[in-house]
Subunit: 104 residues, 2 copies
């Protein structure tokens, strides 16, 4: 799906790490939320509240998921899940365009 239909978009961006990571909140008719974001090259750590599905639209990165000691490579077209109430690390090698879904 290249486009989300019949949604609301919050005008103000979410900004992290001095703008090296930014995203827009998209709210669906059923109340669920996704964010469409950009991560510039660098290393970041994020914490989750709800569990998350991270779909990589484009880019190249490595991730270190909670409970794991091995970095995994992820590229455009792939996705990964992060459990709730956890933190995960990312090494962005190429600008990464992502879609994050927040799972109940």
């Amino acid at each position: 799906m290249s486009q989300f239909e019949n949604v609301s978009v919050t005008k103000q961006a979410n900004v992290y790490f001095d703008g090296k990571v930014t995203s827009r909140k998209v709210t669906f008719a059923d109340g669920t939320v996704k964010t469409l974001g950009i991560m510039l090259p660098g290393e970041y750590e994020f914490g989750t509240a709800a569990a998350e599905l991270m779909e990589i639209t484009a880019g190249e990165l490595e991730i270190l998921l909670p409970g794991s000691s091995a970095w995994q490579q992820v590229v455009g077209g792939e996705s990964f899940n992060v459990p709730a109430n956890a933190s995960f690390k990312l090494k962005i090698h190429q600008l990464t365009d992502y879609c994050c879904s927040y799972l109940d």
Copy 2:
């Protein structure tokens, strides 16, 4: 208006200047288009096809509009127009969150 309702959002971002400027395309029910974008500190030049209204949600920048020799300061909450088929320059001093409307 803090949110756009009943719109479509293109999943893939628009990326310019190695990711220092990125935006998301928002299409309204009446077919009109806006982009919600981020400009990181730096100097950029853009060209227009249709005339554009640039609304600055947050940030601090200077602009040099076509036909003008004086840079103008613009801050969050302000906006400016750019005529069709023209180019304009920007000096972004603070991360700038913007909404661009394409005018017929």
